[in-house]
């Protein structure tokens, strides 16, 4: 759907990271974890294209959608200037989100940096469904560790890792995984490509199904322009699939990580 959602709150939570909430009952009702909205940043022709931003929270009762995003360029910088009361021009919910596990399954969720944004929505649903969830969040510094308090509030155990050692384990979040992954039934991950590649490698090694959320420069968001392609293996052959419609969530085993 295409709509204007009224901004309720919008704040700079750390560094370049912003948390925005806007009102839309229809969107909150329709949204699933791993899906995204396509947002018009600014009202002029520069920047021209919308920006795909994953859905961080969807409160069906209150009709509120939350977006957690990082200012990475001209578009998101303009977005960060919007104020409560302003109308946000959004398309969505778009894309194929995460497939939920059976309530009896033990789940590991691995986030890197801003990749935690769509995973919060997922973890919330997993907790409500009664899944046993173990969360891992990695980032460059303690300042880049996002949504940790919110996730802990859900009663989920969170393991942290930072590149500079300013919080949690000093090193890659994927270093924490090997022994744990052998005991889970399913893995979900979103973050930098090399991190997801490592998670996919470990998931394959321990034979645990994993879902990854990919990212690519996007045009239309609805599968028409074929800009946001990623390489997916089908019957051993690598073919282009659209991140916006066949994805952004794919099974880790199908992704061509060597592309």
């Amino acid at each position: 759907m295409l709509l204007n959602g009224k901004l309720i709150t919008h704040k700079n939570i750390a560094g370049d990271y912003y948390l925005m909430e806007f009102k839309s009952h229809e969107l909150a009702e329709a949204a699933g974890p791993g899906q995204f909205v396509h947002v018009k940043c600014g009202s002029t022709n520069d920047p021209l294209l919308r920006r795909p931003i994953s859905i961080h929270k969807a409160d069906k009762d209150k009709g509120i959608i939350a977006l957690l995003y990082r200012v990475a360029g001209k578009g998101t910088r303009l977005l960060s200037l919007m104020e409560p009361g302003d109308l946000l021009d959004v398309m969505g919910p778009l894309g194929n989100g995460f497939q939920l596990p059976k309530p009896s399954e033990k789940v590991a969720v691995v986030a890197g940096g801003i990749g935690v944004a769509p995973l919060f929505f997922l973890v919330q649903l997993l907790v409500n469904a009664g899944n046993d969830v173990q969360m891992y969040i990695g980032a460059r510094t303690s300042q880049d560790l996002l949504a940790v308090k919110d996730i802990k509030k859900l009663g989920v155990d969170v393991k942290l890792a930072t590149d500079d050692g300013s919080a949690g384990y000093h090193g890659l979040v994927t270093d924490l995984l090997p022994e744990k992954l052998q005991k889970v039934d399913r893995i979900y991950t979103c973050g930098p490509f090399p991190m997801m590649k490592s998670v996919a490698y470990l998931a394959n090694k321990y034979n645990v199904p994993a879902q990854v959320s990919l990212e690519e420069k996007m045009g239309c968001g609805v599968g028409a322009c074929l800009a946001c392609s990623c390489k997916i293996k089908i019957n051993g052959e690598s073919v282009y699939k659209r991140v916006c419609t066949e994805g952004p969530v794919f099974n880790a085993g199908e992704v061509d990580w060597e592309c």
């Binding site: 022709n45 520069d46 919308r50 420069k217 239309c220 609805v222 322009c225 946001c228 990623c230 282009y240």
Partner: protein, 306 residues
């Protein structure tokens, strides 16, 4: 006032209004069905189709520039046989004409695709892409040489009875020379313009942004170039023109109509506003009513005077 007449005739393709979609920006139509009722459009122009499936170019395939977009998709498509099997039934269910954009690496490939579409039915027009800047063979190479452009036109015309629209490239010294050549070769209508060849460089990586290095520029940035091309070609040949290049609003579309376009295609603007086609159509109708113009055809080329 009564509703004005919006219907136009593009080389035998009757459109209930002059607004259509630019190939490659609207998929096969269904992708936008949540936002646009396709039956309200004048026609639907679908993604470029080739004889064999094409994987397309390496990513990134898209880069933003001020008021524009560079793309290097590389004609990714499932091939004409797949299109006939999976999309033509949908085309047949529509009440508006569907125009299939075709491309090839050789003259024979263009002709073969046209012949297959002719047999399949459900296709009201064939738009021949001799202007894609993103493929190594064919594409723009045909469109930048009047003799080659004429040869492709003749080959396609002799392979089908469906009206044939030739899509011209702006990446030439004199677009009227190519327009004249394809008109003489039997084209029924012209589409102009395709994208402008361009590029962008990432100063952080110090490498080209696009995986394919160069790409085609579209969006509001190219509108003046497209409008100029329509103006020149309208004066040079008698054929109906589908004008495109940076059309986002009814005002943009009206400029193209006044320059000589009988129909207009909305392209990149669909990405920004998925309802752009419908809003352009409504705006044109409003303009006609407000200005007491009973028939859209009276506006075509009106800026040329006389």
């Amino acid at each position: 006032m009564l509703k004005p007449n919006l219907a136009v005739d593009i080389g035998g393709i009757v459109m209930q209004n002059p607004v259509t979609t630019a190939s490659g920006t609207f998929g096969f139509g269904r992708e936008y069905s949540e936002y646009v009722s396709i039956n309200e459009l004048g026609a639907l122009v679908v993604k470029g189709t080739t004889l064999y499936p094409r994987q397309g170019n390496a990513v990134p395939r898209i880069a933003e520039t001020p008021a524009g977009v560079l793309n290097s998709i590389g004609l990714q498509n499932p091939g004409v046989d797949y299109l006939i099997e999976h999309y033509v039934p949908f085309f047949k269910s529509l009440q508006v004409p569907v125009i299939v954009n075709i491309s090839g690496e050789t003259v024979e490939e263009y002709a073969a695709v046209a012949e297959k579409l002719d047999k399949a039915g459900g296709v009201a027009g064939i738009e021949v892409n001799i202007s894609c800047p993103n493929v190594k063979k064919g594409g723009m190479a045909f469109g930048s040489d009047p003799a080659m452009a004429a040869e492709v036109t003749k080959a396609v015309k002799s392979s089908t009875t469906i009206p044939v629209i030739i899509k011209l490239s702006p990446n030439v010294t004199d677009i009227t020379k190519v327009a004249e050549a394809v008109a003489a070769a039997g084209a029924d209508a012209l589409s102009l313009i395709n994208t402008l060849l361009g590029m962008a460089i990432d100063i952080t990586t110090r490498r080209p942004v696009l995986g394919n290095v160069m790409g085609g520029l579209s969006g509001p940035a190219v509108k003046p170039v497209a409008l100029r091309a329509v103006w020149q070609v309208y004066k040079a040949v008698e054929l109906p023109i589908i004008g495109m290049g940076g059309i986002s609003t009814a005002e943009d579309a009206l400029e193209f109509i006044l320059a000589g376009a009988a129909a207009v295609a909305v392209g990149t603007a669909n990405f920004v506003n998925p309802r752009a086609t419908i809003e352009v159509k409504q705006g044109i109708e409003r303009y006609l009513i407000e200005n007491g113009i009973k028939n859209i055809n009276d506006l075509i080329g009106a800026a040329h005077g006389n």
